[in-house]
């Protein structure tokens, strides 16, 4: 290396160093530290003793862990299909050349800028008995009679319905915008040419738009699966995992075991199961994106 190269390398590292240090300490180190924590009995006061793979063995016999993992998978299965298809429809609506398209785009995404606490409590009051909005509307349309109340948070099925509906309402805007930007990348000439050739709106949709959107659809699918596996806040604040822990997701169980039951080692072990699932999903997503780029 000549003098100039050495100078460049030093300057570059001065620029990189602040981020590099923070990234190493707060993003990379916890992953490694977590492995060590998961091999120990560990409480909020610090390490107690080394137990090897004990925490991992315990996982598979812990019904609450298996249950919460299963609830998370249920949540993924219920939300993902809607969160792939509904935003696509919304994007097609908002992409039409009409005067109110900005209104559509803004309304579809608006819930997405609200904080998880706000949307949780809006949902809680919306689905509350007596004064809630949903029961009020149902009563207005005579779906339920004047004196009766649906207690949304009393049954597992209805609790899931609330959680899934609010999650879709809150997060549908993000994939909608991804679709919208992909739709806007489709060259107008392509669509015009199809129009001239007499292709109907439906034909244009199924034979031109959807095939061109395939990479985006796959991307949205993977991003939604990943996001749904991480679900915590809105369930924690609305159903609280209830009734009887039947809607408790994995992150909530990890949180409770660590900070209510003081079992940090065990929680760290559970975190790695989640970590493994998410890494597999992310790698799959990268692979799908790469495959699409090459085509």
């Amino acid at each position: 290396m000549n003098k100039r190269q050495i100078r460049a390398t030093i300057t570059a590292w001065v620029f990189i160093l602040p981020f590099f240090i923070l990234f190493t300490i707060f993003t990379v180190y916890p992953i490694i530290q977590g492995v060590w924590v998961s091999l120990n009995k560990w409480n909020l006061m610090g390490k107690q003793n080394f137990v090897g793979l004990e925490n991992y063995k315990k996982l598979f016999t812990d019904d609450a862990f298996v249950g919460s993992l299963w609830h998370t998978i249920q949540f993924v299965l219920m939300c993902t299909p809607v969160l792939v298809i509904l935003p696509l429809i919304m994007a097609l609506f908002a992409n039409r050349p009409v005067k109110y398209k900005r209104f559509l785009r803004i309304s579809y995404y608006l819930p997405g800028v609200l904080s998880v606490s706000v949307i949780s409590f809006i949902a809680k009051y919306t689905f509350a008995p007596y004064r809630g909005l949903v029961n009020g509307i149902l009563r207005f349309f005579d779906v339920i009679n004047t004196k009766s109340e649906i207690l949304w948070f009393e049954s597992t099925g209805r609790s899931w319905a609330v959680v899934v509906i609010m999650t879709i309402w809150w997060t549908v805007g993000f994939p909608m915008l991804l679709y919208l930007s992909a739709l806007q990348d489709i060259p107008q000439e392509t669509l015009d040419a199809a129009e001239v050739d007499g292709a109907s709106g439906m034909q244009q949709l199924f034979q031109i738009k959807l095939p061109l959107l395939k990479p985006t659809i796959l991307l949205v699918l993977m991003l939604q699966i990943i996001a749904c596996f991480k679900v915590f806040g809105q369930i924690y604040m609305t159903t609280g995992g209830g009734p009887a822990n039947t809607t408790r997701p994995l992150v909530m169980y990890i949180y409770q075991q660590a900070f209510n039951k003081n079992k940090l080692g065990y929680s760290a072990a559970m975190s790695y199961i989640l970590f493994a699932i998410l890494v597999v999903c992310t790698l799959l997503q990268f692979k799908l994106q790469k495959g699409e780029d090459e085509n």
């Binding site: 993003t27 800028v113 609200l114 809006i122 991804l178 940090l264």
Partner: protein
């Protein structure tokens, strides 16, 4: 004949698309109208929520009578500091990776790329232990530092800087200008749109962050809004008026930011999508 059909079809689509928009807005609009009602108003049908008399008095009540204003200021401070720091350190590092030719730049880039694989939710336990050992639990530094250590902003900035032509920078370099000058006088001004986008996304992310503040802060005076709000609302209240006012106090600034910076937000999301 065909013309007629198209019109009916587009009319139906119009109705559906606008209805869908109204459904999306309804809960927020409802919350807004609730916050304008007098506490204790008789509600017999749903229309009563939306009809006058209105009052604005709930807002001073919430701002003065609860800690909401304090949490608001905390949230704002944390969000602004996180955003400014993240933009500075991410764009500096991104500039070096994209525009200074040096040995190991590929290696560093790949190292940061791995950051995208790390889901914050899966490392909360070791993160808590680490921040605890650094004596940063219950401090704003403990909130800010982990949140600016993610590599998404950096990777977005790298891909942007790579697109800037190098010729101008080379010219300054030959004239003896330092890299810091090039970064400040050329790279940053050219990347204003991308910085705006990164900043908005970073700000919204920090403003809405829930899980980490929940673990990191236990002193009520240091709460941010997302963890403060539930403490006000979890008590079973007979009335929704004050809770909804709290919700609106927390949301109105975000909604205004969103309406002003809608373009940057849309852009930011499409970029995060590309980066994954």
């Amino acid at each position: 004949m065909r013309k007629q059909k198209v019109t009916i079809k587009s009319f139906v689509i119009m109705i559906i698309s606008v209805l869908l928009a109204l459904v999306m807005l309804l809960p927020v609009v409802w919350a807004l109208f609730c916050s304008l009602q007098q506490e204790g108003k008789q509600i017999t049908t749903i229309w009563d929520w939306f009809l006058p008399p209105y009052t604005l008095m709930n807002y001073p009540d919430v701002l003065m009578g609860t800690s909401t204003l304090r949490w608001f200021i905390n949230s704002l401070a944390v969000a602004v500091i996180s955003t400014v720091l993240s933009v500075i350190i991410s764009t500096m590092a991104a500039y070096a990776i994209a525009k200074i030719p040096f040995k190991g730049s590929k290696w560093v880039y790949t190292f940061f790329l791995f950051g995208l694989l790390v889901p914050g939710e899966a490392t909360i336990i070791p993160m808590f232990i680490l921040v605890h050992n650094l004596n940063l639990i219950n401090t704003f530094s403990g909130l800010v530092l982990p949140s600016i250590a993610g590599s998404m902003n950096l990777l977005i900035a790298v891909s942007f800087f790579r697109g800037i032509p190098t010729a101008l920078m080379e010219a300054v370099r030959i004239d003896g200008g330092s890299e810091l000058t090039i970064y400040r006088k050329i790279a940053l001004p050219l990347s204003k749109p991308i910085i705006a986008t990164i900043s908005i996304m970073c700000f919204i992310g920090s403003w809405n962050n829930y899980l980490w503040p929940l673990l990191c802060i236990f002193d009520e005076a240091k709460y941010t809004l997302p963890i403060g709000i539930p403490t006000l609302l979890s008590v079973e209240r007979p009335d929704v008026v004050i809770p909804m006012t709290v919700n609106m106090v927390a949301s109105i600034p975000m909604i205004i930011v969103y309406l002003i910076f809608e373009k940057q937000i849309v852009q930011g999301i499409s970029m995060e999508g590309i980066k994954g």
